[in-house]
Point group: D2
Chain length 450, copies 4
């Protein structure tokens, strides 16, 4: 499973692009294929996109060509649209509302339906990205103001999305009416604001977290002000993706710890000597499990710091596959013990099998594989790249069959109820769990706001 993108915007600060670079660096777990920054300086927009990691490709030299104190940025893992530099964002375009840059996290589900009419009206599509649809909807609008055109466009598109727009004197943030993907607001110490996919990206700018962009909201930040508009009916519950908390977004320590606690309650019958996590995301749930179960926590798997994106996986021979190089067993923790391994989720099962073999080779006398989330059985329509159902290990298999498949002595999943409780489900926050139970919340929430 892969998240698709991270976005970051900032206003009213010198060398805005330096801040965007640091923000994107903190969001890189959301996409590490390409990155880019657009800035506004002297009423003119500048934009640079690059393939590769943030710090390696958005060098000081590149930033020198991105002056200005207003900026947005994007780091990307491709979902809709192919890869390649022509799909790297932000996109910069001249429109009837002036120059406009856009950065997008999410997935439009009706792009293919919208395109023919746009083309018939004279649009030319130069990329395969669904983000270009948003630009054309705005460019072909007959509204007087940009904000009017954006509202109109938002009412036409469907899917999960967070968008940042840069104009010559403002940054606009938009979140879809269900609030599937995250987008937070920070306030800078002096003046100005920050938008970011996750809270963790605020710290290098010393920005104070002041809340989320709400679902169905457009927030406009200028030098001194923050104005909030709605483009969908207010008062509806939000439907955040539950996997942002389980897996994608950084820490969410409480939710993950709690899911480990719940997991311990649901699997209190397993007898084991040690509980370990699969780094990094499994460790926090493992700690929760240990505390609730009384079974000792150990660091039984370590993660190599030499298998990052620049790591070239060897092609020759079978030896040394990526997982075997990425993770090492700690024999002193494993040998002679019955081991509970906690991971965040189980998709295909290929990695898990290798981990279990690794632990047995290191001396484990039993290996129980527990997941801090339920069985993944359905596709995601809202921007997460989930393999085809035929590849999902939980489709058409009992837990016993899964255990056999991955060579574990036992496999256990957290119940859906357990997960929702750990994540704080409530009347106003009804998580999207489509990939787990196929529950889909209506997108027909969109009503003309005042």
């Amino acid at each position: 499973m892969r998240e698709e993108c991270g976005i970051f915007g900032i206003t009213a600060i010198d060398n805005a692009s330096l801040h965007v670079r640091l923000g994107l660096f903190e969001l890189q777990h959301r996409g590490q294929e390409s990155c880019g920054i657009a800035t506004s300086h002297d009423s003119r927009l500048h934009c640079k996109t690059r393939m590769g990691l943030v710090m390696n490709s958005l060098t000081d030299e590149v930033l020198a060509k991105l002056p200005g104190n207003l900026a947005i940025g994007h780091t990307r893992y491709s979902t809709a649209g192919g890869t390649g530099i022509q799909n790297a964002q932000p996109f910069l375009a001249m429109t009837k509302y002036g120059q406009l840059a856009i950065a997008h996290n999410g997935n439009l589900t009706n792009a293919d339906q919208l395109k023919p009419q746009l083309i018939a009206n004279g649009a030319i599509f130069q990329s395969t990205s669904d983000t270009e649809v948003v630009l054309h909807l705005i460019a072909q609008s007959s509204k007087k103001s940009l904000i009017g055109a954006i509202k109109e466009a938002m009412r036409k598109i469907r899917g999960a999305y967070c968008l940042l727009f840069l104009t010559k004197n403002s940054v606009l943030a938009v979140r879809d009416p269900r609030g599937i993907r995250p987008l937070v607001i920070g306030k800078l110490p002096e003046r100005g604001y920050v938008f970011a996919s996750e809270k963790c990206a605020l710290r290098h700018s010393n920005a104070e977290f002041i809340g989320d962009v709400k679902h169905g909201e457009i927030v406009i930040a200028t030098k001194n002000s923050l104005k909030r508009h709605r483009f969908s009916k207010s008062g509806t519950p939000s439907h955040p993706c539950v996997f942002e908390k389980v897996y994608f977004a950084r820490p969410h320590y409480t939710e993950r710890f709690n899911s480990g606690v719940r997991l311990a309650k649901e699997y209190s019958h397993i007898e084991a000597d040690i509980v370990i996590g699969v780094p990094d995301s499994g460790n926090i749930a493992a700690l929760g499990f240990a505390e609730a179960s009384g079974i000792r926590y150990g660091i039984g798997l370590t993660r190599s710091h030499y298998t990052g994106r620049s790591f070239i996986e060897p092609t020759q021979a079978k030896r040394g596959t990526a997982v075997e190089l990425k993770l090492s067993p700690v024999e002193e923790v494993i040998r002679g013990n019955r081991v509970i391994v906690v991971d965040d989720s189980l998709v295909r099962g290929t990695t898990s099998k290798k981990i279990i073999r690794m632990l047995r080779k290191a001396g484990a006398i039993a290996v129980y594989f527990l997941l801090a989330s339920p069985q993944i059985k359905h596709p995601c329509y809202d921007g997460v790249d989930i393999p085809d159902r035929s590849q999902l290990i939980a489709v058409g298999r009992t837990n016993e069959e899964i255990a056999k498949e991955i060579e574990a002595d036992g496999v256990g999943y957290l119940s859906l109820q357990g997960l929702l409780q750990a994540c704080g489900e409530s009347e106003t926050v009804q998580h999207c769990t489509g990939c787990l139970d196929n529950r889909r919340f209506s997108e027909e929430l969109i009503q003309i706001a005042t």
Copy 2:
């Protein structure tokens, strides 16, 4: 002075992209900043653009992603529009007439006038290239057919241009009504056709030269046929850029040799021991001069093969400037002699001064600098990058003053009449000599063709 671009298209041949690569290689003197190829395969267009030289950047790996037996390509030196990969051509776009790729050599003079209306109609501009204007004119057309839309667009644009379009089953070639930039047609041995900026690009495909795309003509090549349409009034004279023959386009041996012959007649009073050319373009005129004057021809300057595009010019200290590294004097030819040096043209004079100093250091006792073209005094509005008038050495200086400036014992220019005669001026071919005498031919030639 710099030419801007070379274009090449081919139909009905296996691995069309291999042919385009070789064609672009031969056109690389017209632009070496970026290059690209678009192909059509199974009713789908593919396009790859790269920064850098043809052979180094359009590698076998890149070509493997460009299948098909119809293709166009482009090699570029930036004029209008900034540099960078987003301006590299061909451009590929989805339009109401289907997928369309475009490659452009030339310069539109009314792009800025056309843009506002296109934008008001909903267009978004994603590059700074004037070529995007052509795409939008077509995309916003209300004509039934692509050919109708292209004709309509051509009647709106002004300037010098040659265009190649690729559709899923044809290549279309267009040349402006004055015929400023060159575009030739070749016929492949079996079936299929080639379009290229210059004849020299035909040889690797064994294509036979069958004539020019005429001024004001649209030529459509498919698998088996070649159809010619007009979009401007027929019967007008063509106005080819005289500097294509003097300097940009490859060989034009006859015109250059003849200009040397004419130069010899105009400067028959100079007494010298040896005549040499500035490589490479000056050598042919120098041979003509030698033959007509009876003064012996020598290879007095050689050009290094190590100062190509990948050559990194040293920044440190004054020593070893580019010209001094690029050219070497042949002392055995120079020492003790009165030397006539023939070059194609004189722009700023900085290079010439260094050449003259180099020759004196190598023992020349007199250096006469003769140009196979008249004084350059005016800007070019049709796609050639000429420095600002303040930098043109011929503006506001007599030949004596120029000689003093470049430290020559004498300077002589070919007369305009001499040049035109050497280049074959006639009633039907009236060269554009705007940079020499500011003569501008009306662009208002465009009439609705049948």
Copy 3:
């Protein structure tokens, strides 16, 4: 502090270089500046060295030029000798004993004394590495056999070292008489042997750990046999570097956990809400501390996977220093808590200060900084790169002064006795603790072995 090198050798296995690459990958924390492999094939030695990380620079293409079933390899952090490819190992030389490759982990303390005589005898030194001294001692020997020449050379050199030699049909492993640096032996499943700086490097070859190369020992592995020779008096205690266990070598889980336990006993008076480790090495000791103290363990700092060796540190502005990018605070763990941070050691204190500031910014109400080792006050003469005394924070400062310097609410070091107990000090294993208490064990252990 930086370890200098990792070495790996293997015999009697197809594609030996593939195994060496994986072994070096696992040893890369010991040196990531350059790497290399030498192999023996058909009585001829081959050698390739490269700058950069193992997987990125010892590519399949490089390995294709390293055939054979006997090989040694080296991964390097420069200590003695400057950096650069000419100092990358293995070194390959033709000597009177035939071709010989050498890989060295350690530091010779008398290289400068030995060089003049070698040079007077006709040696030429082509690198600045002390390893070349070993080669010349062997090359100038008058012994009949290579093993005799190596023994003679080992009796002349002083310092800490582990050496691997490759000949056309064997790998020889040598460890200094004090056993300062580690070197282990593994047995392959079928036939053949492995030598490696650390046990963790054995796993990819499925080699079984069968013990250490003993201090003062030369072990010769051929296709089928393992022969052990001594070149120093037997029966002396070994003096392993205590910092290999605290910091350099991989896991040593038990020692680190125990040092945390001891730390908890020595600092039982500190009242805190949470104990966290500085990743990665501080985490294990923090776990030990938590278990012994009853204070809850939390993952309060996470380490970025995007700051590896290919990470380009931004130079512009003060923002985003390496530590601030490498480590992130987990606010949910930190905020509102009195935090104990456990790290392995404290050298200059610059990083610690930044970590403490980061924790306070994330809401810590008190930060106690505890070290799982005593104060570092002295240089290392045996191959570890310790900064000048003037830069060591523990030199001339009380713990209170150190706390003030790094802005902690308190600083505590583990006692030397505590560390030694945690590391298993005994009559036969007397750790080298020179950097802590300046205790130096005599090198005059070397006696002619039978």
Copy 4:
């Protein structure tokens, strides 16, 4: 055929490495695989070697690490010894005479005979280059002075060589007793001296040519003085390689022009309309031919500036081989004409055949291929890389058979006598023509000089 190396040294000038870089740039036709510079500064030698072209690899950054006002440099095409950075020169070594750097142009014929004794004496060979033999001979000498040791070494080695040595305060230049390879001396405008493989390398330093290093001579340049020593008997004739003048060394305009004149006399019976040269070296002889024969000279082949060393030759398909991309025919010169093509030499004939086909395709009605040198039939023992006899087209074939092979209407070689006359053969200058007639001059010239 390929020359192997170029060398350059300079004394007593600020930023000596800048001058070496420019000197090596001018010598790059002698070797473009690797390059390097050694300098002396404050009694310490520095050395950097790189793979690749001079200007691209010896960047300003590299030069910043090469301070000093004494330097030597080397540019290399590998002959003896494999390729790779470990064979790149200069070599820098610490010897009993202090630090010593060496740069070598040539080929030692008795290196394999000298090595065993050097190794038995304790030498270790770290490269496969014969240059290392020279260093060891010096290092193992028992002479008091370096100059004595060099003389002793020179008397032991055989073959063709020019050597430059750098010590902390001087540059020493050595040329073999037969004077096979060239080495010239220049005098700087103020103080100090230059040594270079060819005169053309002097110009960027404004050095005045003051003669050759004589065969069998050692010339020592310090800050202020130039001292000349002999290590072989004086008064013997020199035996310069005739192909340096025909092909390798830059211009030699007079010799090449004269060889064309002689060729015209020997082939006065050929009736043709135009004579052209194969660029670049054939052009000068073609001019000579034209002047002597009265047949008009034309530029019938042009050389691409885009096929330098960074040019990546396409591997796919047969189209576009290197020669066809490198050379273009000038149709206006060729079409309808009987063409004489002059080239410097004929080795395998593969390139010639392609040229002849190219000319016929461009309309030549007859093509006569004339060579400004005799048939190459023998190997070179003195440093030129000549293919195996089985590949030499002139071995075992009459001129008629060769013409048929390369598809020419006729082939003619310059006679040996003609070539020697053109090159200035005399009693004191007896050219080495070993590759033409197998004539070998005795190397036993070496006598103890005073």
